[in-house]
């Protein structure tokens, strides 16, 4: 390799100082610096700038450390609050997203109804279990409906045929005893009366509770009803406290 000129070296000094010069140039750099006092002085100056910067970096005072010590508490409590607040909103957004998916696939939709289950293992409603929630990994972990007829009340079906449109999101907790608790209408595209009827009927439905490691666990479930037979094939994740790896599954379609 040809020897470096002062200009070659000057252009590379900064990167050389940081050890970011290509290996094949390093030897030429060192050779030049060893024999050229002008370039060596330039290198020394760069070194001094670095030393000055590090020596002038402020050290934290005790007051600053005290402020910092409160940082995690403030951040974590705000994030937890946001997560709790965001839960219905997130489900609503999820629903809208799927609505778009379904709209895009409208050529293959039919008048049949499709039931989609979103199960979220909820630590808060499963006392005695670990605070760290367990991921729902397969459909076997989802609560199974024992009396499935209750899922498709006549009123709902007729609402669907009359309006030609049906979208509904219901949220609730299927307890370890297989009962529905905290049922809540998240979103409905039609009369709330019908939706309320749905909730009443769901409340009478008995479930085989979801299980994890052989024990029944409480899970938060979202039922999304739409007027379609298109099944979302891929599992999808949404963020939720106490939830993780949520599967959307149409296996329980009626």
């Amino acid at each position: 390799m040809n020897a470096f000129t002062c200009a070659d070296v000057g252009a590379r000094l900064s990167a050389f100082r940081d050890g970011e010069t290509p290996v094949d140039e390093q030897r030429a750099m060192r050779a030049h610096l060893a024999s050229c006092s002008a370039c060596a002085a330039q290198a020394g100056a760069l070194e001094s700038v670095g030393t000055l910067l590090r020596a002038s970096a402020p050290v934290r005072t005790r007051e600053q450390d005290v402020d910092l010590a409160h940082l995690s508490v403030r951040v974590v409590s705000q994030i937890s609050a946001e997560r709790d607040m965001a839960w219905p909103a997130r489900v609503g957004r999820l629903f809208e997203d799927w609505h778009l998916v379904w709209a895009g696939l409208s050529g293959t939709t039919s008048a049949a109804l499709c039931l989609v289950l979103v199960a979220l293992l909820s630590a808060a409603v499963s006392p005695g279990t670990d605070r760290n929630p367990v991921a729902v990994r397969d459909a076997e972990m989802l609560p199974q409906v024992l009396s499935s007829s209750a899922f498709m009340p006549a009123a709902l079906v007729s609402a669907a045929t009359q309006t030609g449109e049906l979208e509904l999101a219901l949220s609730g907790v299927v307890t370890r005893e297989g009962r529905l608790a905290d049922a809540e209408l998240v979103k409905a595209s039609f009369s709330e009366d019908v939706a309320r009827l749905m909730i009443v009927q769901l409340a009478e439905t008995r479930f085989e509770p979801a299980s994890h490691n052989g024990s029944p666990v409480a899970v938060r479930v979202v039922w999304l009803f739409s007027r379609t037979t298109v099944r979302p094939a891929a599992p999808m994740n949404i963020d939720k406290p106490g939830a993780n790896h949520i599967h959307l599954t149409a296996d329980n379609a009626v």
Binding site: G19, E20, L46, L68, R74, V76, N132
Partner: protein, 204 residues
């Protein structure tokens, strides 16, 4: 100038760091408050320190640190492990600081900054522990204030690059990721930043 200058940040065993990090991130995603606290505590000093260097004021830096961690948790689902968590967080700090420093800088320019003001804002100057001689202490503080002033006058991206390199010891690749630019850009920014600092600080 010696070979000893080619210092790269010493990294721990990446495989194990990655695994522990991945587990912490997974727990944070489930909303595990203890994991979230651990994540903040593991990174808060470096976040605050960088924010302080970029913004030059304690309260601003503290406020920014809080915003950064909120953003970290709000976007943690997007963290794919293609960078270390630390570098990913650096990137968030820089983006937030860049947004903020536009108006912050305008506000600051209107104020005359004395040495005492400067020290009140950034905290204490490091004490090498050599001397209690008041003159030396004052002199050192003056030098530090000069250095800070010069750093402050650099364009934001140059200042960020030089701080990440000289103080945080990041590699060019990590700096490039943090700034969202190419490695070649990092190289030229560092060279320019050093040149300007040299001239301003009259380092021969």
């Amino acid at each position: 100038m010696a070979e000893g200058l080619s210092v790269k940040p010493v990294s721990l065993d990446w495989a194990s760091v990655g695994e522990a990090e991945a587990e912490l991130v997974a727990r944070c995603r489930t909303g595990d408050e203890r994991a979230c606290t651990a994540l903040v505590e593991a990174h808060q000093r470096m976040v605050y320190q960088l924010a302080l260097h970029l913004l030059g004021e304690h309260n601003e830096a503290l406020d920014l640190s809080q915003e950064v961690f909120l953003r970290v948790f709000r976007t943690l689902h997007a963290f794919r492990g293609h960078a270390s968590l630390r570098t990913w967080i650096y990137r968030i700090v820089i983006n937030q600081a860049r947004n903020r420093q536009r108006w912050w800088r305008r506000r600051k320019q209107r104020e005359q900054v004395s040495l005492d003001d400067h020290l009140r804002r950034v905290g204490e100057v490091p004490d090498p522990g050599r001397s209690d001689d008041p003159e030396t202490v004052v002199e050192r503080k003056e030098v530090a204030a000069c250095v800070w002033g010069a750093l402050d006058r650099l364009p934001f991206d140059q200042r960020t690059a030089i701080v990440l390199r000289e103080i945080d010891g990041l590699s060019y690749e990590e700096i490039a990721y943090s700034l969202g630019v190419a490695v070649g850009t990092v190289k030229s920014r560092l060279a320019r930043a050093r040149q300007q600092l040299r001239e301003e600080l009259r380092v021969a």
